[in-house]
């Protein structure tokens, strides 16, 4: 009803023409003061000298980045060689986040497809089912996963009772546990964008292709894939980016052996072993990596649009 009342869609309305910036101002202020400026100060801190009980001394230094990339011996007097410890932690994080993303894709794609091909009236309900767990406290979801896959946990108990194994399968504190935790944390981020792209797809097109004697495979590759691809890429980024800096899943499910970037950074700000400039530098490097991924994505999207 309301739709017919006006030709002017809400999107293009200009009732408050001229007040745009005034209305934006409060949000601008809050986000600039409490996020943009802090990231700037963090960048500055990454170039300062560390103070031993946490905090910094206001003296320019490249020590944080140097410590990240180079090893100069126990007393700092040897010729610098590449320091692999931290690069390895970053590499492991990329690897873990990547595997979690693939796991999400394997389960998420068919699920999104299935939901998008339901009758329109029931789609919202299916989506709702998928998103509910996302709104449950992440900490609680991670604890539930930990409870489930412990050596004495319900899965092992059940399998032992059933008979296929006599010793519990060791799952906690392994790479697999971390991937499972990340998968559990971010799965809905994979399903939603893929769903959106499949739902937009007009299945009449594939019927037309079939009428013109395209095989199922050709139709899939030439007609469906181009439409669905943006959703898949968006989903992968939405899972990969938060997985990269995740803290709870690696910390609670991975244990000390499966250290990821999140734990490395966190450690620098807790207790006496802390090194604020180093933590700030590691956070800066993580942020740079994420921004590179997002910029490549934005560019690819722009190219496709033009």
């Amino acid at each position: 009803m309301a739709g017919q009342l006006s030709s002017n869609n809400g999107n293009a309305s200009n009732i408050y023409q001229g007040n745009g910036l005034t209305l934006m101002l409060p949000s601008w202020l809050v986000i600039c003061v409490l996020l943009v400026v802090p990231v700037g100060i963090m960048l500055v801190y990454s170039f300062l000298t560390k103070e031993f009980r946490g905090g910094v001394i206001w003296e320019f230094s490249l020590a944080a980045y140097d410590q990240f990339f180079f090893y100069r011996g126990l007393f700092g007097d040897e010729a610098p060689t590449i320091e692999w410890t931290y690069i390895a932690i970053f590499w492991r994080s990329i690897w873990q986040a990547g595997l979690a993303t693939i796991l999400c894709l394997i389960i998420g794609f068919p699920t999104a497809w299935f939901i998008a091909t339901r009758p329109p009236s029931s789609r919202a309900f299916w989506l709702f089912l998928i998103t509910i767990p996302y709104w449950v406290n992440l900490l609680i979801r991670t604890i539930s996963m930990k409870f489930l896959i412990r050596d004495e946990g319900p899965i092992n108990e059940f399998l032992i009772w059933l008979g296929p194994i006599s010793e519990p399968i060791h799952m906690i504190n392994t790479n697999f546990a971390v991937q499972l935790g990340l998968f559990y944390s971010y799965l809905p981020f994979m399903v939603l964008p893929i769903y959106a792209s499949v739902e937009r797809y007009d299945f009449g097109l594939s019927e037309a292709a079939a009428d013109l004697y395209a095989s199922r495979w050709v139709t899939l590759r030439k007609i469906i894939l181009p439409v669905v691809k943006p959703g898949v890429i968006a989903g992968c980024i939405l899972v990969f980016v938060p997985s990269l800096g995740a803290f709870l899943a690696p910390d609670l499910l991975g244990g000390a052996k499966n250290f990821m970037i999140g734990s490395l950074i966190e450690e620098q700000f807790k207790g006496n072993a802390g090194n604020w400039p180093f933590g700030a530098a590691a956070a800066m490097i993580l942020l740079t990596m994420v921004l590179i991924v997002l910029i490549i994505y934005a560019r690819a999207q722009n190219r496709e649009r033009t």
Partner: protein, 270 residues
């Protein structure tokens, strides 16, 4: 008519994987919920149904600790969500009712910035910021940090709703000499109410949910529910933690369902 139509809508196995997906999502939560009713001091052995650990949460040794933490969590979430909702409503009005203006695309990016910056980076940056300006960490620093990341979550449903409302009614009111403020307060705001409510509820849950940013900016001596639970779990999962988790689980699901139903009712009335 062709005899054999190729059906590209349905793939064998996809419904099965959807089933697996739902089991993976819900089984851990359900199992923890079931075990929270276990009448045993051990989390491994099952000794029958009881409300023992719920009693422990409310009246046990650690009850006062959890009550204070819950109080902090709920008051912070209410205030952060309220402020974020007001900011997001104003921003959504700018984005969908103010035509083109300078800085519009930057504004859009800025609103969504808290979603793009990894949480751990936000946590570090906020901690360093508070320390650099000499701001005492505690209740207020947690509240300020929460407002920031609540904004995009409040913004999404609010702006979606506002874009769905044509501005004809408001234009009509303006033609009849209503001021713009009257048009906003008496027409747009009531129509927006479902969107605003679901924005508020989502922001509330997101604030209630946060662990990593809170744990960085809270300083010593104050806990929210997630940081208190995390501290306890570091020592080991105990049955009372499972009871608290189940309670929090129920609260989250209740809020999201409410937000979903309000949003849907709003759509229908439109």
């Amino acid at each position: 008519m062709k005899a054999a139509r190729i059906d590209l809508r349905h793939f064998t196995g996809f419904p099965l994987i959807t089933g697996v997906c739902l089991i993976l999502l819900y089984a851990p939560l359900l199992i923890v919920a079931v075990y929270s009713f276990n009448d045993s001091p051990s989390i491994t052995t099952w000794e029958g149904l009881s409300l023992r650990w719920y009693r422990d949460v409310f009246f046990g040794v650690e009850a006062s600790k959890f009550k204070t933490a819950a109080f902090n969590s709920i008051t912070i979430a209410s205030m952060a969500a309220t402020v974020a909702t007001i900011l997001a409503t104003s921003a959504a009005t700018a984005m969908s009712r103010a035509g083109q203006f300078k800085g519009k695309s930057v504004s859009f990016a800025l609103i969504n910035l808290p979603l793009m910056v990894p949480e751990i980076v936000t946590a570090v940056a906020t901690l360093i910021f508070f320390s650099a300006i000499g701001f005492t960490t505690g209740y207020l620093s947690i509240l300020l940090a929460h407002i920031v990341f609540c904004i995009p979550f409040a913004y999404l449903p609010i702006s979606a709703r506002m874009q769905g409302i044509p501005d004809g009614y408001e234009q009509a009111a303006l033609d009849l000499y209503a001021t713009r403020w009257q048009a906003f307060r008496l027409i747009l705001l009531p129509l927006m109410l479902p969107g605003i409510l679901s924005g508020f509820l989502l922001a509330f849950i997101i604030s209630l949910d946060d662990f990593i940013i809170t744990s960085f900016v809270k300083g010593a001596g104050i806990e929210t529910l997630p940081t208190a639970i995390f501290g306890a779990v570091k020592i080991g999962i105990k049955p009372n933690i499972m009871a608290i988790s189940t309670l929090l689980l129920v609260v989250s699901i209740l809020f999201v369902t409410l937000s979903y139903l309000i949003g849907r009712a709003g759509e229908k009335s439109n």
